[in-house]
């Protein structure tokens, strides 16, 4: 299969590579960039575990080809914490509120919530639930996750990385 060149900025670092057109963005990030924090839970666009930011928008990297992100700025879970490793307000809230158990869905939640709180800095409970409804967790029953989003919102910060 013919390969095409692709370049993008991932977590602030420029990446240039040659890929099959069918390579998903998720596999590009996981296998080519070795950023394995982006997880694949369904490869169908439903579970949201693979959510990353592409030019600021939360997208499902399993449903996007790497070539479609050509020229884009991509932020993965590895790019959410502060450069010194300090947890972002969203990450810290998940830790404080026991918002994760096995941690497999967690990167998708953290990225989704980061974008959500940027766009909805003072969300209502209904907005929070709707904002999370496209991301699946099987461990927590969402209790700690909902608390974490409320805490991150209430902290008065917008949760941007």
């Amino acid at each position: 299969m013919g390969e095409v060149s692709v370049q993008m900025t991932v977590n602030g670092r420029r990446r240039v590579d040659t890929v099959e057109p069918r390579l998903t963005l998720a596999d590009f990030l996981r296998e080519r960039c070795r950023l394995t924090g982006t997880h694949l839970g369904c490869e169908h666009g439903v579970c949201g575990a693979c959510t990353v930011l592409v030019d600021g928008a939360a997208v499902r990297s399993c449903l996007m080809f790497a070539v479609q992100a050509n020229g884009a700025e991509v932020t993965t879970i590895e790019g959410i914490a502060a450069p010194d490793g300090g947890l972002s307000p969203v990450q810290a809230a998940f830790r404080d509120c026991h918002g994760l158990q096995c941690g497999f869905c967690t990167p998708g939640f953290v990225v989704t919530v980061t974008a959500f709180l940027r766009d909805h800095p003072s969300p209502t409970d209904v907005q929070i639930r709707e904002g999370l409804s496209g991301t699946l967790c099987r461990c927590t029953g969402y209790q700690g996750i909902l608390s974490a989003v409320r805490q991150a919102a209430a902290s008065g910060r917008d949760g941007q990385p």
Partner: protein, 774 residues
């Protein structure tokens, strides 16, 4: 790491300590099996049967082999002869397991049955090639409906001679005739629960890495039981256990699905020596829903006998369970738990059961959180039906029959002896949290305006922490390293159960060090002692025992060295804050680092008889054969009678899990199990059509609860210590046991003005509308 303040200084057990797993998992730094990448690693993809039952006439792999990048295409003829022995330690070699060919041989027995295995340089290529494997199938009549499987001519396993896997009987129904004849009220129903499944967010997966030069096999696994994977694999391949190393750092949930080695996983183990370079298999969601196993799918004819005051006189359950084609493990003995536990936490003087397990041409049964939970569903739903028919309030009916503390220990009618439980206390606490009377008033007002609210309650008592056989011991190695840092080596392994944090909390308190100075290494069979893994709600109690045993040895040594150094009596030394000091003189003392320097580098300075080093291993043997846990769930809901939609409004769990090691972890386990149970009651259905085609193989069809549906869960705690270490009990499974009946009872209560009887799950909108239209 920051931690929330402990209840009293230096005490970490009992506090809402931040988890040590979180930093890596929140930043993308976890290591799940799909994150393992080894040099020259190849990728595997299974070819799976599209038919529920078909004879495999021929397999042509030529076209698949011709795809550039394809290295191997294996069929049963290549793989299956490699099997030496296949049995799980918990079941033993004599268990009459279903014959499990790694790849389907001659006949495919469910849609999803693995037929061939393609190994290629990338998963993309492996998937391409899998589509080119030509299998000549001759479809055969399939056994799809387990309720008629006993009467059908077709057999799932010809060699078994019957579609009944087995049957276990307790006291027969006929022996209870006197009780049921004499009863003032007899209530009977048939209650049915659909197939649903654990559905961890990470599916199954393995990386196998066999080195021909050394004869060593390293396996990276998504598993709840790394040591059992190693034992099983050693027997499977006939190679010594110590040549195999199983490593799991992070497993993305298991809930029972990852406690046994399945056929797909056996295939990877068997081909590893033939391939000679690392091979990765990570199932996708479709495979997980097709082939990783189903749970639940069962029904029972059951009856309860009451006297004129509503006191239960007898209980009988005739239980039938669908086990699919390849149940793992043998389901007959586990099905008996449904019968044994059917009386629940109630005063039931006489009881009996029969439990039958059935083969069908569907995916095999696998373990799932509270594998016997049908006993609670059936009993609690029938209690509400009984209350309605007898005209007694369902709360009052339970109150009259629940066991009181002064009746413990209590031998249930099937020979199980409950102790250290508090069913009446959790029940009253949960109802007080609800304000039952106020809810009834609100319900009456709502009904007057055409809104239908309901309340449902369930009680259960659950055996946690099996203390026998394979499960009955757990080891810990603790090393206070030369720097004074503490490492705890324990089988464990993170599957979402917070076991790393639990171990660190326990060890910090046991040794008197700050939690930040304790690390734990888990999930690697090369450096941890055997442990039976995360199963049976055993990790908390067994780990506490292991840490207790080992730290006792080390404490003695630390105290002896410190007493010698400080020229004090051993009895006067205490360990706290990472120091050994003379009691009452907190300014004195020596740090763990100083003690470690003495122990490792100045052995001549040690007191006589004290060995050098600060390392110890000990193995805990369970103090009790089983640790009982009980809880009460209360659910309220509103049902939209036009659309059939159920909105769960309040959800209360009062649980007695003994003292809590970490309340966050306890409540997290309760919440997770409860929402799985709500999913099972309302949404999830691993459905097949009448031809045996699976029709829920994506998350668009298999509906997990989302944040939009779940209620806020309110927790109540009653604390009755268990006979185990620290008085702790297991809390991993209970939520999934208690939730379905509470939800069903709430819906049934909401619909009670319509005179309907709810007996079939899931309570989908269509099901509810059909009930109301009937």
């Amino acid at each position: 790491m920051t931690t929330t303040p402990a209840r009293d200084a230096g005490r970490f057990v009992g506090a809402r300590v931040h988890r040590v797993e979180d930093a890596r998992l929140l930043t993308g730094g976890g290591t799940f099996v799909d994150d393992v990448s080894l040099p020259d690693m190849l990728h595997a993809c299974f070819v799976r049967s599209p038919f529920a039952r078909a004879a495999i006439q021929d397999i042509d792999t030529a076209a698949a082999r011709a795809v550039p990048g394809v290295r191997f295409v294996f069929t049963a003829a290549d793989v299956n002869p490699g099997v030496r022995e296949q049995w799980h330690t918990s079941m033993g070699p004599a268990s009459p397991e279903t014959p499990r060919p790694p790849l389907a041989e001659g006949e495919a027995r469910f849609a999803g049955d693995p037929v061939a295995l393609v190994i290629a340089e990338s998963r993309y290529v492996a998937e391409d090639a899998a589509e080119l494997v030509e299998v000549d199938y001759e479809p055969l009549p399939a056994v799809v409906d387990y309720t008629t499987a006993e009467q059908t001519e077709a057999l799932v396993h010809e060699s078994h001679g019957s579609n009944v896997v087995g049957q276990i009987d307790g006291v027969p129904a006929s022996a209870l005739d006197d009780v049921f004849m004499a009863a003032a009220h007899v209530v009977s129903e048939t209650i049915y629960q659909q197939a649903y499944a654990p559905v961890p967010m990470e599916g199954r997966g393995l990386v196998v890495d066999y080195s021909g030069a050394t004869g060593e096999l390293t396996i990276y696994a998504a598993t709840q039981v790394p040591h059992e994977v190693r034992l099983f694999c050693a027997r499977l391949l006939g190679i010594p256990e110590h040549r195999i190393r199983v490593v799991m750092r992070d497993t993305g949930g298991g809930f029972g699905q990852k406690v046994m080695v399945q056929r797909d996983e056996m295939c990877l183990m068997l081909v590893a020596p033939m391939v000679g370079v690392p091979v990765k298999w990570v199932e996708d969601r479709r495979e997980n829903l097709l082939a990783a196993g189903k749970s639940r799918q069962e029904h029972a004819d059951l009856k309860l006998a009451f006297d004129g005051d509503g006191a239960i006189q007898g209980a009988y359950i005739d239980f039938v369970q669908d086990c699919g084609a390849y149940p793992t493990p043998w389901p007959v003995s586990t099905s008996a738990a449904v019968g044994m536990l059917f009386p629940g936490p109630y005063r039931v003087p006489r009881a009996g059961f029969t439990c039958r397990t059935i083969y069908t041409n569907t995916v095999g049964r696998s373990a799932y959180r509270g594998p016997w939970q049908f006993e609670s569903l059936a009993r609690e739903v029938l209690l509400d039906i009984s209350a309605r028919r007898m005209g007694i309030d369902p709360i009052e009916l339970r109150r009259r029959n629940l066991l009181r503390r002064d009746e413990l220990p209590y031998g249930n009618a099937n020979g199980m002896t409950y102790d250290s439980i508090s069913p009446l206390e959790t029940f009253e606490q949960a109802l007080a949290m609800l304000d039952y009377e106020a809810f009834r008033a609100e319900q009456a007002e709502a009904r007057a305006t055409g809104r239908y609210l309901g309340v449902g309650v369930s009680n259960y008592v659950e055996p946690s922490t099996p203390g026998y056989g394979y499960y009955g011991t757990e080891a810990a190695t603790i090393r206070i390293e030369p720097s004074g840092a503490v490492n705890v080596y324990i089988a464990g392994g993170s599957t979402g159960n917070s076991i790393e944090t639990t171990v660190v909390q326990l060890a910090a308190d046991a040794l008197g060090v700050d939690i930040d100075h304790v690390n734990t290494i888990q999930g690697d069979t090369a450096i941890t002692g055997f442990g039976a893994g995360a199963a049976g709600s055993r990790s908390g109690s067994m780990t506490a025992g292991a840490v207790r045993e080992t730290s006792t040895v080390l404490r003695e040594r630390l105290l002896a060295i410190a007493a010698h150094k400080l020229e004090a009596d051993v009895e006067d030394i205490e360990l706290a804050g990472g120091r050994a000091r003379v009691r009452g003189a907190p300014a004195t003392g020596v740090s763990f680092a100083e003690l470690a320097t003495l122990a490792y580098f100045e052995p001549a300075s040690l007191p006589p008889g004290v060995p050098a080093g600060l390392e110890a291993t000990a193995r805990y043997t369970a103090d009790a054969p089983v640790i009982w846990v009980n809880a009460t769930h209360v659910c309220t809901c509103e049902v939209d009678v036009a659309t059939g939609r159920v909105n769960v409004s309040r959800y209360i769990v009062s649980e007695d899990c003994g003292p809590m090691i970490n309340p966050d972890v306890v409540e997290g386990q309760i919440a997770g199990g409860t929402v799985q149970g709500i999913g099972g009651a309302l949404y999830e259905h691993l459905a097949y059509d009448e031809d045996g085609n699976p029709i829920a193989t994506t998350f668009m069809d298999y509906l997990l609860p989302t944040a939009a549906e779940v209620p806020v869960i309110e927790y109540g705690h009653i604390e009755t210590p268990s006979p185990g270490p620290g008085g702790y009990k297991g809390v991993g499974e209970g939520g999934a046991i208690g939730a379905p009946p509470a939800v069903v009872n709430a819906v049934a209560d909401a619909l009670s003005p319509f005179g309907v009887t709810v007996t079939h799950l899931p309570l989908s909108p269509a099901q509810i509308v059909a009930l109301l239209d009937a």
